[in-house]
Symmetry: C2
Subunit: 418 residues, 2 copies
């Protein structure tokens, strides 16, 4: 049986982590920076070592293909992103590229070539670090970034357009040729750290992602009556803060009682006006971040906040509820989920199904091609943090599950492609 | 029967309101500014018109005395402050000076001199506008400002010391001679706008203050566990925001159920960390402002917040409760309260007893001399605001109640003074 090589996984992950811009803590590779270029060159070199045919597209995504034994079959792809958040750990994005690369080595060294071409990829711009927009690389691949976006998307710090950043980086930014619709794709499999505590606490070795959560981002404004903290008796008050807390607690209780395993609610920002310790808040503004893998649940939560608002309006508050952003859940492909599960069973690795609360490139691919994700446990559930850690044992198991999954997919008949 | 002259009250109040520094809205007279000097000179002139003997103390408080018919009796004093908050209305402080002045005119014109000297006063530095410290004038009068305070108390904007501000204003700042312990005082009566909605909503014409509320200012810090809004399921969370809201709602319910008429609780500031819409708050910090006219209630509230904190600590949060400031309630003199009540009854003006949630110079005088306050209704309970308004009718009634109260006090035997 082919085994993943833990030392390879560690060496490549650590070398990649060493390719970092200076930052307060941890690592940082902004898209199209010189360190991003260095990381791409390093992974190219590792791809070439294994014998992959390397190409970089016109917008900075990297691909390394191992040809299949049969002609004209669609590609099976695996990878993740090569850019990072600020003060990142060594695994977010990198783990998916490194394990996909190690799986390529295993295929190559198995002396049993796959029927389908196998392509390892590393995307650019998945994190919003440089441009404030996420999932750029995968959106280029699916043709959803337009030519005018190249001019309107700007570097958050310098204000430079994406077009001129691409040009300075040495890419022509041609949108048509970056689209994967020019190619035949059989499946995407993305391996990633869970970024949450579920696997770490359950002790399961592998997470099989059922869906990437939909989100609703909502801003709620509560208008009451400001006043002096000393001179307005309790019975005369319309304290916007208290009204806001009551709404939040009611909603939180509702989510805890009804959807504890199937949705999340987060109030990450809350501001009071006037905001002095001796002033009754006349206004409270807060954000609500709802997430669920189930579209109906998300809809119910959004409706419930409107109901909460109308209850408070009867008490004399003015409430405005503004849905800032909304995205439906994206289901992962059932056949690939089954292939992952069977691979775990063959290998004797424990697994559990879960949803991804965070967004991933896979979310962009899934509407167009069969797509699924393998999650590995992040120690203490910590991610987007220098302390982020996936053990080399877990990386090895993840790579082996990925390898078996690729073999499963390779055996499946191909859907006719247009 | 002597009546107060509405036109005098309006003219003097409006002239005083016209003596203002430039500000965004409403009026502003910072202590020791050239406009403060102009206001003092104007009130001096009005005092002299009535025949009062004017003196300014060494720290900027203004006094105008009408001698009594008997020798060596202690003074009965009435007045309020001449400085203002930023963007103030025309009545806060000014009303108490203007009505006391009109009462002096009524005494003078009654052809029935008082036995005791009657002194109208206007204090400096009651508001914290310039120095960030309140009640300066009255604290000078009671000897509680020390020589070293003159150097450590600084202008919030320029950083100049109080000593050098006094000197630039033309005063020597001699602390001993500013103390009223050099004089014999029978009573203080301060007339003031309520600064809250109680009289405005009850429709009562006169408020008789029973006590000036004690306060406890508390800062509460709740430490939970930060995390990504998408990746940490509800059951795994330690959301510091939710814990803070639960504490606040519990406390608010307790105050509403047990002390709705006898205490207030205000959470005027609340901040969440990290403070991003997609981050579970790992830390929440909020202020609590408790006020009550009853010392035991205040003590109970402070204890209750410690109990709330220990309940939440059992749920796995770390809570710190820090009492930033604490001041006991100050009771107003019972005999003067009775004199005010009898005056209302004689005049046929409706009245009610209430507490002052805000601080006043009277709070500083009360431990040393018999002191009480007359409140007038602020329209819609609005104060510290350009819209602040007390009708001229209400000012007239207030002045007449003050005049009758002074007459009552004048008839009372004098306590022996040291």
């Amino acid at each position: 049986m082919m085994e993943a090589n833990k030392q390879h996984l560690q060496d490549i992950t650590e070398t990649l982590a060493g390719i970092t811009e200076s930052c307060e803590a941890g690592i940082q590779r902004r898209s199209y920076s010189s360190k991003f270029r260095e990381a791409v060159l390093y992974i190219k070199k590792e791809m070439e070592k294994i014998g992959l045919t390397v190409r970089e597209d016109t917008v900075g995504n990297l691909f390394g293909m191992l040809p299949g034994s049969e002609v004209d079959l669609p590609e099976i792809m695996s990878g993740s992103h090569l850019d990072t958040v600020r003060c990142a750990g060594a695994f977010d994005g990198a783990a998916g590229v490194v394990c996909a690369l190690e799986a390529a080595r295993m295929i190559k060294e198995s002396d049993q070539p796959m029927r389908h071409p196998y392509t390892v990829f590393g995307t650019v711009g998945e994190e919003g670090t440089r441009f404030g927009q996420v999932l750029l690389g995968s959106r280029f691949m699916t043709g959803s970034i337009t030519n005018s976006d190249l001019d309107t998307v700007k570097d958050l710090e310098s204000g430079e357009s994406l077009r001129s950043v691409l040009s300075a980086y040495g890419l022509n930014g041609d949108i048509q040729s970056a689209s994967l619709f020019n190619r035949k794709i059989k499946a995407f499999v993305e391996l990633h750290g869970e970024q949450g505590p579920v696997l770490d606490q359950s002790g399961k070795e592998i997470g099989i992602v059922q869906s990437i959560a939909g989100i609703a981002w909502i801003k709620v404004t509560v208008i009451g009556q400001a006043g002096h903290s000393g001179t307005v008796p309790m019975g005369y008050r319309k304290d916007a803060g208290i009204a806001a807390y009551e709404m939040i607690i009611d909603m939180n209780t509702y989510v805890m009682e009804k959807y504890i395993h199937s949705a999340t609610m987060t109030v990450g920002q809350l501001t009071l006006n006037p905001g002095s310790s001796n002033c009754i808040p006349g206004k409270a503004v807060f954000t609500v971040d709802f997430r669920s893998g189930n579209k109906e649940i998300l809809q119910d939560l959004v409706e419930t906040i409107y109901q909460e608002a109308s209850v408070k309006e009867k008490d004399g508050y003015q409430i405005s509820v503004c849905v800032l952003n909304r995205r439906d859940p994206v289901n992962m492909n059932q056949n690939i989920q089954s292939a992952i599960r069977e691979s775990c069973e063959e290998l004797g690795y424990s697994y559990q199904y879960l949803n991804s609360g965070a967004g991933h490139d896979s979310m962009i691919f899934a509407p167009f091609w069969p797509t699924a994700m393998i999650f590995l446990p992040n120690k203490d559930g910590i991610s987007h943090n220098p302390k982020e850690y996936i053990s080399w044992d877990e990386m090895k198991k993840g790579t082996e599950v990925l390898y078996h999954t690729l073999r499963h997919l390779d055996r499946l008949d191909d859907e006719p492609q247009n």
